[in-house]
Symmetry: C2
Subunit: 271 residues, 2 copies
């Protein structure tokens, strides 16, 4: 049976999950989403992701007409129907079919199962090369669909030989386009920015674990501090914990704490 | 006959103009558009709008597979089929159906006819109330679909009793969310910002006309300068030239040059 998607009130075959071009996501880039992993057929951190999804929707003044329990049931029903263990679930809420093409209307709500590529072993061993780039995500606490700069940057990064960008604003590091950023100082303190970022769920779970074993600081990171860093890594739902081996011209050869945290995270959450 | 829309290769009834939810505009807010008026059934400033549409597409690395002449023919055919004199034409190019939900793919291309509300006589007489707001549109020269801040601001503006926002950055005025901004100084110089804005077509045409009768300067405008301004107005395809009567707490009671320019514009372009 073909893969199914939930759209508004119905489960439909994925090919039939369409939106009219007048939806405010298509016309004005207005919408929110969230994304979580399945471990087998079990949602990981679903409560945290639902919390954030509701906060995002509220942040953009978009009403969710389904109750939290209804959304959970939809997710479980979708997992059951598709029976495709592993991939993630994407929740999406759009600006809806706006009469005037500008004012938010009744949102369209979509729940879909989407596969993603976990980092290959070589990628974890090799680590990422990040290019620092001056940019501040707008409405940064809300998981909006605004990835304009992130996608626009792709060919720029590729041409320069970098894997991803590291955003900074007013001299302070914030985050990567789709990941949170962590640094290990020369005296083994784990540091991550807390302001003007998306509150990542992997970031939150990792911080909880890390506090048991390491000294942890949530505070602004100066661009210049990176030159003295011992290790750095990024976190996200799809990447989990991925070492950074280079930022601009600075090489970060160590990854002791990074790999320890990755093992801790994976063993703790069996993912 | 039902109103038609051109989507990719076909003219279809508007209700059938749909995109799959995996389009990168829906998933990541990635796309460009343009919009021009019809005077009767005649496109206004079509060459300028096509120039900008191609520049926007190139700016976001999105290929347009139709030649300029083909797009013109599609527009003329759509106008003929719909025979609805007056409304505008919207050209839209999306990020396409991305395999990984992040990398731009073959764009979807839509040409639609969309009505819009011209300013009522009372609105022109009354003038707009603008609230200055610190924000800089990303990739400002490209007419992207990113109106996240603009739409997010709507309830905020309404609550405070303002009609629209006036963006500024580093102390300098740039533009309104969907309009360019002009100011008349106390010694009758027409001033409009030229940097970090969208290059509006109405702005361009108006500047051409204004230079014949007035002293014109394209330069940054300081937020503080607004307090000494004699007049101010905004320009756009749908609003043409619309007086501003208040910015924050500052009242701008005059509109002599504004109304002169509006009459000049409308009589010159018969619109």
């Amino acid at each position: 049976m073909a893969k199914q998607v939930f759209i508004n009130g119905d489960f439909v075959e994925e090919d039939k999950a369409v939106l009219h071009f007048r939806d405010l996501s298509v016309q004005r880039g207005y919408g929110v989403f969230d994304f979580f992993r399945l471990v087998g057929n079990e949602p990981l951190f679903i409560e945290d992701h639902l919390d954030r999804f509701y906060l995002s929707a509220e942040g953009l003044h978009l009403p969710i007409t389904f109750s939290r329990q209804e959304i959970k049931n939809i997710i479980l029903e979708l997992i059951k129907r598709n029976n495709m263990p592993g991939p993630g679930i994407r929740l999406q809420l759009t600006g809806g079919y706006s009469e005037d093409g500008f004012t938010a209307a009744k949102p369209n709500f979509i729940v879909s199962q989407q596969s993603f590529a976990s980092p290959a072993k070589e990628q974890i061993e090799k680590g990422l090369k990040l290019l620092s780039y001056p940019y501040q995500r707008q409405l940064s606490r809300i998981k909006t669909i605004d990835y304009l700069m992130a996608i626009w940057l792709q060919p720029v990064l590729k041409e320069k030989g970098f894997n991803d960008a590291l955003y900074h604003h007013d001299g302070l590091i914030t985050e990567c386009p789709r990941n949170n950023f962590f640094m290990v100082t020369s005296d083994d303190v784990l540091v991550t920015p807390a302001e003007n970022i998306l509150a990542g769920i992997t970031r939150k779970k990792l911080l909880e674990l890390a506090r048991n074993s390491f000294k942890v600081e949530e505070r602004p990171i100066n661009l210049d501090e990176l030159k003295e860093a011992k290790e750095a890594f990024i976190t996200s739902t799809t990447k989990q914990i991925l070492p950074v081996m280079q930022i601009d011209e600075t090489i970060l050869p160590e990854r002791k704490m990074t790999m320890e945290l990755l093992q801790l995270f994976q063993s703790c959450y069996k993912c």
